[in-house]
């Protein structure tokens, strides 16, 4: 009885391993919201403001055997910005910053992935923000993949990149310590 169970487990694990080797498409887990697009920006040079975009969606393809073939697309609603202060959020949505009535969406579309070490990669892609499209490089770190407890299969990673606000035509000057915004993402995808 015990031997049979062990054998079944071994077969199961082997099948699982085989599954991992295939390139697969993943949808960001928006339903359970295991995906985050956060950012931080310096305040006066004394501290940081943290913020988040609440509404976005996207998908990626990933193959642990060939990570450089990975692709990712994300679209987010700029008006969903949230920094835990209604007046500030209103200001960020205005023409001083994200101009959300004119540019309601921001997108990131990867163009190439370069492996930089075990589980690490530089993901180059076009970021469209405030109506301006510019290439950015996201330093990504693969976190993990495997079966989830509810019958699905998941993979996830995190990444960071830093953009200059002026590069995306955001002209409001918040001072020398607040010229750049660091974007920090954590994406978990459910295999399609």
């Amino acid at each position: 009885m015990l031997k049979k169970t062990l054998a079944a487990l071994a077969i199961g694990t082997a099948l699982l391993g085989a599954g991992q080797a295939m390139a697969a498409d993943y949808a960001l887990d928006i339903k359970g919201q295991h995906a985050f697009v956060n950012f931080k920006i310096g305040h006066l040079g004394y501290s940081y403001i943290y913020g988040s975009f609440k509404e976005f969606d996207g998908s990626f393809s990933y193959d642990s055997k060939n990570p450089e073939a990975s692709k990712i697309n994300v679209t987010l609603k700029t008006e969903s910005v949230d920094t835990n202060n209604a007046e500030r959020d209103k200001h960020i949505r205005s023409g001083d910053f994200l101009n959300v009535s004119k540019n309601p969406t921001a997108t990131f579309e990867s163009t190439s992935v370069k492996s930089t070490g075990e589980g690490m990669a530089d993901v180059t892609g076009n970021l469209t923000l405030n109506g301006v499209t510019k290439p950015v490089v996201v330093a990504a770190k693969f976190v993990g993949e495997g079966d989830d407890p509810w019958g699905g299969y998941r993979a996830g990673f995190e990444g960071t990149t830093t953009i200059k606000m002026k590069d995306f035509n955001i002209e409001k000057d918040l001072g020398p310590a607040s010229q750049e915004v660091e974007l920090m993402i954590s994406f978990e995808g459910v295999r399609k």
Binding site: E79, N84, N85, A86, E87, D89, K90, R93, K172, D173, L174, G175
Partner: protein, 181 residues
């Protein structure tokens, strides 16, 4: 000047409230217009909105008292020289000024409290948030506040010009009545 309104004259309370509110409304408009264009490093960047919000909330209380006073001591009737059309326009105009001012103040309050944060009034006390669940509340309330502020000061300007017209062209007592005479 008597305190209360009489059937033909405005009393001290109504006259004072009228001119006080007029002064504060134009003052708040100017302050609001100026403060939204301030540089982030201006020393007024946080002070000006604090004053704007504090004065605005006090104005709300004053306007509530004004409406109560209107009911306690009704304003004098229309001048006999005003025709039915003038009387109708006057009623609508004044109703718009009152209603518009209330909506304007409430919309301003809804911007700052959209996330559940209260508004401190000069640090004396805090007005708590109530309604926080309107979709995109701070943005919707912000648009209402901005456009209605413009509409109201323009309309208040027309209200003033109309009073001057009555004074200088019609030569009636519309304007002097509001000075308590």
């Amino acid at each position: 000047m008597q305190w209360r309104n009489s059937p033909t004259r405005y009393g001290f309370v109504s006259v004072s409230l009228h001119w006080l509110v007029a002064l504060v409304v134009f003052g708040l408009f100017a302050l609001g217009y100026w403060m939204v264009g301030l540089d982030y490093y201006s020393s007024w960047y946080t002070k000006a909105p604090d004053i704007h919000k504090s004065v605005g909330l006090i104005l709300f209380a004053v306007m509530v008292l004004r409406v109560i006073w209107r009911w306690v001591s009704p304003p004098p009737g229309h001048l006999a020289s005003h025709g039915p059309l003038t009387q109708k326009a006057t009623r609508f105009g004044h109703a718009f000024l009152y209603l518009g001012l209330f909506v304007l103040m409430i919309s301003g309050y809804l911007i700052s409290t959209a996330e559940g944060r209260g508004i401190p009034v000069f640090g004396w006390f805090e007005v708590p948030a109530t309604l926080t669940s309107i979709p995109n509340q701070e943005d919707v309330a912000g648009l209402v506040h901005e456009y209605l502020a413009w509409a109201l000061v323009i309309f208040a300007g027309i209200h003033g010009l109309a009073a001057l017209k009555h004074h200088f062209i019609d030569r009636d007592t519309t304007l002097t009545r509001m000075l308590g005479r």
